[in-house]
Symmetry: C2
Subunit: 191 residues, 2 copies
């Protein structure tokens, strides 16, 4: 499988409208089978994902998103909820079997929470690039009611929502003009 | 430019040793010119990067990293410091010119801090995939003295370090065995 720079980065856009073209289970599994290999601290892999696709689940989700995100979320064939398992360290004996990495986090809530947030966000970045790689367009959003969404989709678990992301075939007619980016000199330096 | 799934995701590894092959300015600019296009909330683009390459800067960096990260950081031709501009909102009139997005963050420190951390981490994910895309190997790390590193590289600014990442041509002889990943069923569900 090969991907172009245009598809992954330079021409890809954040989409606000989507066509009716459905998203298959196979595409969702392909996304995960790419992103799962990218690095996280101690291989902790804290991201958890709910792919919201059925009408019942979508209706539940729509009650949690900000007013400005309702129409595009309704239009998207799938919305991914990117969560973070705040008890990710309980999986470290499986994911990092050569050391007692679980003990690095037990009783250190602030360190564990920071690790969950940083690394599930890194995985969110991998997710977006992987979704584009399998031919889907993305519309990531952070405007939603966290407590309500957590209760609706992560009840009974230690997982909390990080952000959500519409997935599908984007409708170019609904794109906004592209906003500028910082230049290399504005964002970077070489020491 | 085309990239393989193996190069970006499935065969790429976190490297602990690097060859002497240098990393050029052009490669560092190519990384940024890919990653800058990937999405952030309100196009806020909070990531700032110092590419540490000169012997003097590298020596300064080595005093800030955890003992277990010293040798590999010394071996890497470049170490990128991925920072987050905690006052990123001051650039929103430039980056998001069609609305007064700066006002969404002013006086809301917790919301602004969370946005800086989430989005600079997303950009960290884009950075790692982009570095692989331009042919480099990565070794991301979060073991360092934050206060010391911030004082050494971000003095006089509102930027704070998120994580650091070695860059270069990885030495396959120094790889560890690959750790397992969660299955789709362990990490995801389709609702």
């Amino acid at each position: 499988m090969n991907f172009s720079a245009e598809r992954l980065f330079t021409e890809a856009r954040t989409h606000n409208g989507f066509t009716d073209e459905p998203v298959s289970d196979a595409q969702l599994r392909q996304i995960y089978d790419l992103m799962k290999w990218a690095p996280t601290s101690a291989n902790a892999s804290p991201a958890r994902i709910v792919f919201v696709r059925s009408p019942a689940a979508k209706a539940k989700l729509l009650e949690c998103v900000s007013p400005g995100n309702v129409d595009k979320t309704r239009a998207a064939p799938v919305t991914a909820i990117i969560g973070m398992d705040m008890a990710f360290y309980d999986k470290l004996p499986q994911l990092f079997p050569h050391a007692d990495a679980r003990s690095w986090f037990i009783g250190k809530k602030e360190f564990a929470d920071t690790t969950a947030f940083r690394n599930s966000s890194l995985q969110g970045g991998y997710f977006i690039i992987a979704a584009r790689a399998v031919g889907l367009d993305c519309g990531p959003m952070s405007g939603f009611d966290n407590a309500k969404l957590d209760a609706a989709f992560w009840a009974g678990s230690e997982t909390r929502t990080n952000f959500i992301c519409n997935l599908g075939r984007g409708d170019p007619a609904k794109l906004f003009a592209r906003s500028p980016r910082l230049t290399f000199e504005e964002a970077c330096r070489i020491d």
